[in-house]
Symmetry: C2
Subunit: 253 residues, 2 copies
């Protein structure tokens, strides 16, 4: 009885589902908790975990609880470098030409993950933003990414993640979000106007045709990041996103 048309290797898919579940649960889960979140029978879950523990991608705590293993860190790092290396020179150009902090982020589950950043020469910013995650509806990169997805998927992702409002200006309803997405689709760039952090404004643009939805952004204090800045920034962002799209198409020489 073929329930799914997918042609993937089931046990592999299930193993990664488990890893995702552990990650979603904060990095540490009991076997029963996993069983509650998947339709898989307990022995199956246990066998897959046993396998993952054996090869070091999951570690079992003395509690018998399961956590993500350290070998995953390396894989994540390489994946990160891979994409980051591609973007770094472009982000640097953005910072040189515009003088504000440039970021690159990808869609990752129902959030965005920042992959690379070149800080502005102006002020010292936070430790490192790389690896940080943000919500789709309250960040420039998030909205830019949503703008290239179909409405159905937008709804699903946002409902899944919820719509917290870190500032008074944060978008809080699906209607407002779709109105903003319509503007983004029309103009080709997203604005985060103090929606994520008070005092910080940001312009963002999706990489067109990227296999994994991703976006670039340029952000800084509202005092400097104004309409005049936008007029300078948008063409630069376009140039950079186009360059990444091209690099992805030609990747690997």
């Amino acid at each position: 009885m073929p329930a799914k048309p997918a042609g993937g290797v089931q046990s592999v898919e299930r193993a990664f589902d488990l890893l995702e579940l552990i990650a979603r649960a904060g990095g540490e889960v009991a076997l029963t908790e996993l069983a509650a979140e998947t339709p898989l029978p307990l022995p199956t879950i246990h066998r897959l975990l046993r396998t993952l523990v054996g090869i070091g991608y999951v570690r079992q705590l003395p509690n018998r609880r399961y956590a993500l293993g350290p070998r995953l860190i390396r894989l994540g790092e390489v994946a990160n470098r891979q994409l980051g290396a591609l973007a770094m020179p472009l982000l640097k150009d953005l910072v040189t030409n515009l003088g504000e902090t440039a970021n690159m982020a990808v869609l990752d589950g129902d959030m965005v993950t920042y992959l690379a950043q070149v800080p502005s020469p102006h002020a010292m910013r936070m430790f490192t933003e790389v690896g940080r995650q943000a919500n789709l509806h309250d960040s420039g990169v998030g909205k830019a990414i949503l703008s290239v997805l179909d409405d159905e998927r937008v709804t699903r992702l946002v409902k899944q993640a919820g719509m917290p409002t870190p500032t008074a200006k944060s978008i809080s309803t699906l209607d407002d979000l779709f109105a903003d997405l319509a503007r983004i689709r029309k103009d080709g760039y997203a604005i985060d106007d103090e929606e994520q952090e008070t005092g910080v404004r940001c312009f963002a643009m999706a990489v067109p045709g990227a296999p994994t939805p991703m976006a670039l952004s340029i952000s800084g204090p509202v005092s400097r990041v104004d309409d005049a800045f936008r007029d300078r920034a948008v063409p630069e962002l376009r140039k950079a996103t186009d360059a990444i799209a091209a690099a992805l198409t030609l990747a690997g020489d």
Copy 2:
């Protein structure tokens, strides 16, 4: 005909082998290159990759080459945070009490990966060391980790990774390495005396009984990190590694 007594799920193990191979190859490989490095038949490799691409852990470039996918970044981040969060307060204590940069690293394949760092208040150090990898034989944390492994494994790992000599003081032969490991086992701490980077000395100690071999270190300029410093540092390191060992044992509340 059971060739291996292992009770793992083969397809899962194979899938992760492929991910490791891609990582080892620098993040991007052609199908044939993978085939050359595994005994697996091509169709099997292809099917596994297809599965991984389908769920986003591998992406296929327009070249048809395969690269690690962005979903791995998230998993790596969570795994990192998991271990890092545990260590952060302890590293902070080390820095407070000793005034130099504190690191935590784990064994990862045939190298060490730095998981967390608290920089010293003294001088500005490099961007961020987190995620960086170092060799086992030329770093304090690496040698500390080797000291808790059996000789056979030490030999295998070091032969696998090779013994580059970044500085004139780097250990370059297995004999020298084993002599140093003997001292480390006796005294309970490792020294990296400008073996990795000229001008930088470091004391390191393994976390006893850690499920995944890991170590802490405290490092700084040779001018400040001297014998007197060692006498202050070693007890502090012991305290911190014991605390981590205890935390691992009690992890999960």
